[in-house]
Amino acid sequence: MGQTNSEMEALIAGEYAQGFVTQIDSDTFPPGLDEAVVRAISERKGEPEWMLQKRLEAYRHWLTMDQPDWAAINHPPIDFQQISYYSSPKQSPKLESLDQVDPEILATYEKLGISIEEQKALAGVAVDAVFDSVSVATTFRESLAEAGVIFCAISEALRDYPELVRQYMASVVPHKDNFFAALNSAVFSDGTFVYIPKGVKCPMELSTYFRINEAKTGQFERTLIIAEAGSEVSYLEGCTAPMRDENQLHAAVVELVAMEDAKIKYSTVQNWYPGDHEGKGGIYNFVTKRGDCRGDRSHISWTQVETGSAVTWKYPSCILRGRDSVGEFYSVAVTKGFQQADTGTKMIHIGENSRSTIVSKGISAMQGSNAYRGLVRVAGKAENARNHTRCDSLLIGDRCAAHTFPYIEVKNPTAKVEHEATTSKVSEDQLFYCRQRGLTEEDAVSMIINGFCKEVFQELPMEFAVEAQKLLAVSLEGAVG
């Protein structure tokens, strides 16, 4: 092994001598990836040996894999040796006051109607002790504990509930699944763990927002949600405000397990930095999200609103193993400027009478490129499986692009699979009509787009839906004309 390795060892040794536990929050590994880095991450986290072995296995497998090139996206090759694989939860320094925050970001917060205290938290400004959410978070934890719900960082879970994690982690997305999943399995930094016991209806929507101090888990996030028989949970991920996260690569893995009669609803609003007006910078978002409807009559629903990132590569999927299990995917993906998105879902029907619904709404503006890629597979045993797919694209202007790549594989003759697709354009006629009725062009566009996305917004929890609408309006501002 090269010099990087010995530097790393020196670093670890040095840190260790000083007692790394208190140092964790402030250190960052130098760029580069090898086995020593994987070991170091695991060590920092104080993980059990089996976790380290899993990481190493994943790392070794990752070395044998190539970056996928089938998606309808273009980006310069990613140099994985240029990335730092462990850093303190938030790289940017804490700011003293809002005056130090980019005014453009503040203007956006303003438009989104985010309170001053929240603005501070989001922008990474030191938050006052009286910050509402702190007390909210406390009451919140207490009532969850009462219900027996576990909701914590995955590193905490590895420490406090190692057997649960061991049983379920990688059972939905094995490290061999794909290039980015393998990378994540080797170097994941942190993430969220949720466990809902049998028969429990989670008393509130779980949101990463309430874990604000732990939320900024860096680029390799790992989330695991387990819903035991008859339980129910709704999980909200992300933040509707623009996080100007400068990390170039995000490769997260999310695994959901739903047992008999369990229901998991997973909602995402993603608004990471999309790059500048010339297409420079921005996040590469390569995410593997998959839900396993393991029990009969289980139900997993993905809802996503994707407006950020320079490149999005994401296919939240459902494996419909249980009889009468239900999978849903509702998506709005917006690309403008030089943004590219290749997103969609996979519905794998294995159980009898399993049903799935896909509603995908792609919006492209300026030079944006938007691709829907979806697979519906009905296995031989999946008697009476049903799928309905609706895939709509909306174009704004004449320099953008929309693509649809539906893959359908049916091995059972009783299955019914339907696919509908439309492409429409926000027309000059529509804008003139709205403006003639007194609306500004921006209001008109936002009205037409909200109309277009309505079916998906309806699936979001109320508050989220309102914010998503505002976010869409903000992100498409100036996209017309």
């Binding site: 003139f432 009509y433 003639q436 009725r437 609306l439 500004t440 209001d443 009205m447």
Partner: protein
């Protein structure tokens, strides 16, 4: 309220309006008739501010202001309403919400408070009944899947709700059966007040059986070639446009 002087305009380099003059006072209803391609719709669109028309000369004063300097929505906010010949569909945009957004946008621009939900609902239901628009259509997307007649009734409903100062109806009668025609005419007549000016653009005289215009103008080759009272419309109905064009040419 509206004074058009020597207006010339072209589309794609082709001259359509060639020195048009027109004066509309508050309280008056003007009918503009003329053969196809005479520039009637161009005039309506230029007044509303639609892109794609270049005004090459002349001026348009509206309530003392230079109308052509205003953006499309500013004209609407200041009371210019265009009932369209082909109302567009807005899929996913609820008809009633659209109407309300529109009213509020105009109110906001004028520094007025937004309309309260209760009186809005009351008004919209009452006016929908007047124009015989099925209430169910209020809950559907704007014009989406509406029949030709329903679209026109919806235009008249919008006009009634927005209470414009200057209403321009661009061939609102085209393609309507006699019942719908009557409803549209009733809607227009109900809005006739001493403060409101109206321009009714039409190809046929029949609409004028129901709307009594104060003045009738004939537009041909991009200018007004004759103005008169209701008799002029009847004469056109009886004799067609040919004789007039010949007279003008002579």
């Amino acid at each position: 309220m509206l004074a058009i002087k020597n207006l010339t305009a072209s589309v794609d380099g082709k001259e359509i309006l060639r020195g048009l003059d027109l004066q509309v006072k508050a309280g008056e209803v003007h009918a503009i008739m003329g053969p196809n391609g005479s520039g009637k719709s161009t005039l309506a669109h230029i007044l509303a501010g639609r892109d794609g028309y270049s005004v090459t000369g002349g001026e348009v004063r509206y309530l003392g202001e230079d109308l052509l300097q205003l953006e499309v929505e500013e004209r609407a906010q200041q009371g210019v309403f265009l009932a369209m010949q082909y109302p567009v569909e807005l899929p996913g945009v609820n008809n009633m919400s659209f109407l309300r957004e529109s009213i509020n946008a105009i109110r906001r621009a004028r520094g007025e408070a937004e309309i309260d939900t209760l009186s809005f609902m009351k008004q919209v239901k009452e006016k929908a009944r007047q124009v015989k628009l099925d209430e169910k259509l209020l809950k559907r997307s704007v014009n989406a899947g509406f029949s030709g007649g329903e679209k026109k009734r919806n235009e008249i409903l919008q006009m009634a709700m927005l209470e414009p100062k200057l209403a321009i109806l661009d061939e609102t009668d085209s393609g309507l059966d006699i019942d719908a025609l009557r409803t549209v005419a009733d809607g227009v007549n109900r809005l006739r007040t001493t403060e409101r000016g109206m321009i009714v653009v039409t190809h046929y005289q029949r609409l004028l059986d129901y709307i009594q215009p104060d003045k009738v103008h004939v537009l041909a080759n991009g200018r007004i070639v004759r103005s008169g009272g209701k008799d002029l419309a009847l004469e056109l109905e009886a004799r067609g446009y040919g004789w007039l064009l010949e007279e003008v040419a002579a």
